[in-house]
Amino acid sequence: MSLSAIERTSKALDLIPYIVEHPAISIEELAEIFSVPSAEMVELLNIVFMCGLPGYSHLELIDISTEDGFVSVIDPQNLDRPRKLTQVEIISIVLGLQNLKSQGVKPAVMVIIEDLEKKMLALLGDIETLSLVDSSQTVEQSPWKPLIDDCLNESATMEIDYVGLASEKLTHRLIAPKKLYINSGHYYLRAFCSTAQSERNFRLDRIQSATKSSQVLLPSVSAVADVDQEVQILIPKGALQFIELHNEIVETSQELGDQLHLTLSISNTAWLLRTLSAIDGSVSILSPENLSRDFQLLNQRVLSNYGQI
């Protein structure tokens, strides 16, 4: 989609000083940095080429050279300096720095971040705007994060004692960390697991102990991939959070009165039974039959605890 005149103006005013500081940059690189298609970047450069100071002779126009797809500014006129940062740009950076702090950086980096925060806040002027956003409760802290950072940096393996999400059993595992990510405020570690012989996700708050290991972990040749199966469920219409949190397993969704009929594609049915149990409302599994029966039996056992059966 092509940009509006205001968006183009904004990009053009930022483009000139950027090229001044990065001469002979390729059009493709510029396009990527300014998040526009290459054709749009060419158009932007054509527009800029037509602009200048009153008089508009060749001496007053912005002069750009685009030889062999590489761009340099020969004369930027009075657009050689970058524009000052807008309020939202400063806030984006300040809150971004706070994101880094919340993810546990080394003390030396913390000093740099705090200095930067001061510099950016000095540019903001009106600090009150910052109070329009609260991002203080983004992710829970984990004591294992520094160790995992080290293992990721060194491509080292780890030994962990882990309480399984669905099984609730404590198991000892040798894992090879792949990447860390955040979901719903929890840190997760994606890692190859020697026990499962495949990649698994480990929630950091379920790790009971962890140490760096010198063991090398190689996938077994006979490793079998998890197989997804189709599951049909009914959940209350108000349980939208189920879809929001587990969007990747929801194949279809249809409203049926005050309920939602969902088709899921999932391999870990033990996890699904627990997740559906935890929904505050009427829930049923329509198919497959064996899973529907397991869910009914689970509910009966719960009621039996309460002396209702």
């Binding site: 546990g104 983004t138 609730e168 379920r206 505050d280």
Partner: protein, 318 residues
């Protein structure tokens, strides 16, 4: 025969906005509208239409954060105004930014997934990289991961927030309904964006999940309401951390529910069960964790939670 040559379509408005910026920036004194119309490329036609064009252009440049100074040319005759852009107010100056710092800023800019802050941070970064400082790839030795999910329309919410303007939107919850809200605050909570604001039809402060909002639009003028203090917003989902916790007494099967036992007081009940006392911030949180553990846990107290669970499970069996 090859494709016929396509002449580029001129974008007159963009050219005019850039030319106007350059002219106002170059002027060492205030210049009048007449001088602008005479000297800046892109202004043509009847005076009235050029005046309208200029008014829109000023608004557009201001929306980009460009400050245009406006003052009377003569203090005795205030009807003739002059315009200019002060280079000091236009240009970015950040004292002593090192390449290492620029590298850290680059990592910070990549910690967002939402379009508003992600694009804002990237734009800021491009400007900072235009100051003549080389960026060095920052080695933070720490895995920095995006903290939020991307949601559309944060730009509109931000505009309404900063300009104190009323928002209208369709909200999908138990029921889908149309809302009219005075926006007070954006809050990122466990990866999701929320809007805290006053539901105008009910005159109560509510928390809305941004992902459940659609057809978002701004209504009416700026400064349509006063934002309450953070203290006054304490009744919202994120403000009530000082509220009393809910204490739950549970019978928990021995060797089971390892995650539930974290942070709880545990005593033996009999040879099969333990008695577990645990505090939760919200009843919803307690209910969800207890239900998750299925038949390995039974609520002893409070009675209201116990009976809620019984009727919930009975509805699933019926």
């Amino acid at each position: 025969m090859g494709e016929p040559y396509r002449y580029p379509v001129p974008d007159l408005k963009t050219e005019r906005l850039i030319n106007l910026t350059m002219a106002l920036l170059a002027s060492k004194r205030l210049i009048t509208k007449a001088e602008i119309f005479q000297s800046v490329a892109g202004y043509s036609g009847a005076t009235e239409s050029m005046e309208r064009m200029f008014e829109r252009d000023k608004d557009d440049l201001r929306s980009l954060g460009i400050e245009i100074e406006v003052a009377p040319l003569d203090s005795l005759f205030e009807d003739e105004l002059g315009y200019r852009i002060s280079p000091d107010k236009y240009s970015l100056t950040v004292p002593d930014l090192t390449s290492q710092e620029l590298g850290v800023l680059s990592v910070a800019a990549n910690s967002w997934q939402n379009a508003l802050f992600s694009q804002g941070a990237q734009r800021a970064l491009r400007k900072l990289e235009s100051l003549g400082v080389e960026t060095s790839a920052a080695s933070l030795q720490t895995a920095i991961v995006p903290v939020d999910r991307n949601v559309g329309d944060l730009h509109v919410l931000w505009q309404a927030l900063t300009e104190s303007r009323v928002l209208t939107f369709t909200y999908s919850s138990m029921e889908t309904s149309e809302r009219e809200v005075n926006p007070y605050k954006l809050s990122l909570f466990r990866g999701d964006w929320y809007l805290i604001g006053e539901d105008r039809s009910k005159s109560v402060i509510r928390t809305f999940k941004v992902r459940r909002m659609s057809k978002i639009a701004i209504k009416g003028k700026s400064r349509a309401f006063e934002r309450p203090t953070d203290e006054a917003m304490k009744t919202t989902l994120f403000g009530n951390v000082d509220d009393e916790q809910i204490r739950v007494v549970l019978r928990v099967r021995k060797e089971a529910c390892l995650s539930l036992r974290t942070g709880a007081i545990i005593n033996a009940f009999d040879e099969d069960w333990d008695l577990v006392v645990k505090d939760y911030q919200y009843e919803k949180e307690a209910l969800s964790e207890i239900l998750w553990h299925g038949d390995d846990v039974e609520v002893v107290e409070p009675a209201s939670l116990r009976s809620h669970i019984v009727s919930l499970i009975e509805s699933r069996i019926a």
